[in-house]
Symmetry: C2
Subunit: 451 residues, 2 copies
């Protein structure tokens, strides 16, 4: 029950009136979790953390009512959307309300290249609507089929599509956000242009996002491709060439070292024994050029249109943070890291990391654009020994110029590259969450001026 | 009359039957020219060069008949399309037939992302057709309204759109070409994948292109934008940021130093006195992000939808090789260069070149992608003193790591970065033009094995 007296919660619930509430402790506990269990460290730290109740607003005016009530009673409020975060982003550290945002799914409008949508909309539902008009989200996490656009913007960084558009951080990848403040009289604030970054990857500590304006990419007929290579560095080198080939339209380029593909369930028939693979999504009209570039350096083992309609497992569910999940399904002794390679010494550094930890850190790269340069995000699968060794591995990367966004910590600061909160976000939080009720503990450098 | 006896030409014409022929010397001489007069050096070298007659095939079977007749009679054949080349590419050095390809304009088909079209089709006509289906050419020269797709592929390099897709050389930017050989029994050859590069920038020496398969980009509503800056380096620095911003969809980013805009005719009202400008084309949904990135570093003086319909002068006609033309209209004492800046020391090198020739070489840059990296093509306007000084300027660039594609020479080799013909193109020429009749003298390292 944390620090909250039953009494306080009862009064809160009474004030919520007809807004749906769930109090069944089993349900509340289950939905207070996300995918933090990827990390053996977070798995211990966040064990048993739970909200006290779930509140499920039906629209923005319900959100405002909940925010007001929580402010009045000083009850923490943690937004929960798809619950697919990897760092316990949606896990309430101090109980209180778990705000289930998943009913806010309305598409306000779709214009050529732009969409305005409720924050709770699932990304696959968005794409299904926009694709009918020739557009799709520029990028999505590999959890597209279960995650929401609001959760992605508040808790994620990039994904399938970032090889072309970069991550959510790049200018123009979030156009606007509408947020509700947590005050006795909540305000609704529209954040446009750079201001929209105030809610990006802030884990819902800087306002309750109710709607987002997102840029759309022209939609292509995507082809899922798997290419097998004798050596991982060949897969990486070819992936790099393909990433640099601006004439080839692509959405995904992910080199994965053997033996990781041996864990790839339904994909195994396309993963020859002993081979490293490159997983790719190529626009159909670029497929011929992609093959020309490949020549006979690798063997295409799968080539089929992307299908992520209900019941299908798309190829991208073997990439990004799904790669590790595929291994975890049968081997719980592994975990992972999130690396950012320097663009100007990319393959050299990849080779170096590979030699440094030949069997302990199993390479999985994602080609991305970062600040306009082609580089890789590394999401290697790590054979976990203990926390000490994990931190040593992290240091060894950083000492050699490979940046780590640590996925074994749960605060915004510790998960960031420079171990600090963005000044804009921190300042904005004072404005929108004066009592420090939003996902408390996640932005650890925040000290409420009024709590 | 060059080396060709009247007799030979009479017999050739007789064999052409009903294929339209123009022999009026005034017309033939006029159409044997292109825009080589940009270069005072070429202007002397190519003075008076002319074909003997123009032949205007109505379709590919006519092309085959002309090619056969020219092969039999050993008459040179130079393809002429829009005639907008800058290096005398379409100027016959040894007389013979000027093959007017402009009737081959049929669009064979348009599929999502790909088009198959006759080589003589004008690029603005192509875009008008494909835009109706939501697509457009990935890139076009600033001569889009008069130049053909075949002339672009055979004589050009890149242009508006290359800031996103790179130049024609990048993998995937030419999908296939159909060429007719010049032999007594001409063959029709389909070049796909990398092989299509055999006709790229070969000045029509490696076969008569009758059709092309070109990749298409999704079409956007483009906004023409002019931004004024106090200093040229500010325009360049902001242009660089915008070029690197993968979340901002753009087609053109061209910094132009003052006083060049003072020559910009109809654009002058948008070119404040003493200011350098950045000329840009931004997709409408990205305009807000573009402005956010700009902040108050520069002043937007023009913002209007791109309009290149008949009778309109689009903004892009102040960019690429048009920038120099705008100046030449009132000052024939200038000429220009074509530079490629190193991507890893871009602004540093631009500043260096600017200081080296403060008043003699007036900076005009075009942001492009080259090999997957953002860099600049430089098309500075040069105050011409004499050939010696021009070559000195070229050397001074090259010594400092700025590559020059010399626009004051007329052979494929001399105009290329490494001063040699592509081995593939040279080899292919033996196959398709065994007698060396195609645009003779332009691929100077070619020695016919059979002539
Ligand atoms: C298998 C797997 C693969 C993944 N792949 C990727 C990937 O490719 N790229 C990537 O970036 N991430 C990835 N993730 C992480 C995560 O799936 C994504 O970031 C996802 O977009 C989160 O969306 P969600 O709806 O599940 O959000 P949740 O997990 O519910 O929430 C995430 C965070 O956002 C906050 N939040 C959610 N909605 C709102 C709102 N409306 N207002 C304010 N705050 C809000 C929550 O409080 C929480 O802090 C992956 C995770 C897993 C388990
Ligand atoms: C003001 C101005 C601006 C320009 N801007 C650019 C620019 O931005 N980017 C750029 O790359 N170029 C530019 N150019 C150069 C030129 O306009 C383009 O390359 C244009 O695409 C040439 O097309 P065209 O139809 O006029 O070809 P032509 O000038 O008629 O021919 C060009 C060359 O191609 C050959 N050729 C033409 N058609 C065929 C065919 N079917 N088969 C075989 N060979 C053929 C010709 O023999 C000749 O060697 C510019 C020129 C000017 C004058």
């Amino acid at each position: 029950m944390n620090d909250l007296s039953l009494n306080k919660l009862d009064r809160l619930v009474a004030e919520l009136g007809d807004i749906p509430v769930v109090t069944d402790p089993k349900v509340v506990r289950r939905r207070s979790r996300d995918f933090f269990w990827y990390s053996p460290i977070l798995n211990e730290l966040l064990d048993g953390k739970s909200a006290d109740l779930i509140v499920a607003p039906r629209d923005e005016s319900d959100v405002i009512r909940v925010a007001a009530a929580c402010a009045r009673h000083r009850v923490p409020i943690t937004v929960r959307a798809g619950g697919t975060g990897n760092y316990g982003q949606a896990v309430p550290l101090n109980g209180g309300v778990l705000l289930d945002i998943s009913a806010l799914t309305d598409i306000e409008w779709i214009k050529p290249g732009v969409l305005r949508v409720g924050a709770g909309a699932k990304m696959n539902a968005i794409d299904a609507e926009t694709q009918a008009q020739g557009f799709e989200l520029r990028m999505h996490p590999s959890t597209k089929r279960t995650a929401t656009i609001g959760g992605f913007v508040a808790g994620g960084s990039g994904g399938i599509g970032s090889v072309t558009y970069g991550g959510l951080r790049e200018h123009g990848n979030i156009l606007a956000a509408r947020v509700v403040t947590v005050e006795e009289k909540p305000r609704v604030i529209e954040l446009r242009r750079d201001a929209a970054q105030k809610i990006n990857r802030a884990y819902g500590t800087t306002g309750i996002i109710t709607a987002l304006e997102m840029p759309l990419a022209p939609s292509w007929k995507w082809i899922d491709v798997v290419v097998a290579f004798d050596d991982f560095m060949d897969a990486a080198a070819f992936g790099y060439e393909a990433a640099l080939a601006d004439g080839i339209v692509k959405k995904l380029l992910a080199p994965v070292t053997w033996p990781l593909p041996s864990y790839f369930g339904a994909l195994k028939p396309h993963c020859p024994d002993g081979k490293s693979i490159l997983i790719a999504m190529i626009a159909e009209p670029s497929l011929e050029s992609f093959k020309a570039l490949l020549g006979n350096r690798g063997t295409i083992t799968l080539e089929t249109p992307t299908d992520d309609s209900p019941g299908q497992v798309p190829l991208y569910e073997y990439t990004w943070n799904h790669t590790t999940l595929q291994v975890l399904k049968s081997d719980r002794s592994v975990t992972y890291l999130q690396c950012l390679y320097p663009h100007d010494r990319l393959l050299e550094k990849v080779a170096e990391m590979r030699e440094l930890f030949p069997d302990e850190v199993l390479q999985h790269l994602e080609f991305i654009r970062f600040g306009g340069r082609v580089t890789c995000s590394g999401l290697p699968v790590v054979r976990f020994r203990d926390a000490h060794r994990l931190n040593e591995i992290i240091s060894l990367h950083e000492q050699r110029g490979v940046y780590i966004a640590n996925p074994h910590v749960y605060t915004v600061e510790d998960g960031s590259r420079y171990k600090r909160a963005d000044a804009d976000q921190l300042g904005f939080k004072q404005e929108v969450d004066p009592f420090g009720l939003l996902n408390p503990g996640k932005m650890r450098s925040f000290v409420s001026a009024r709590a």
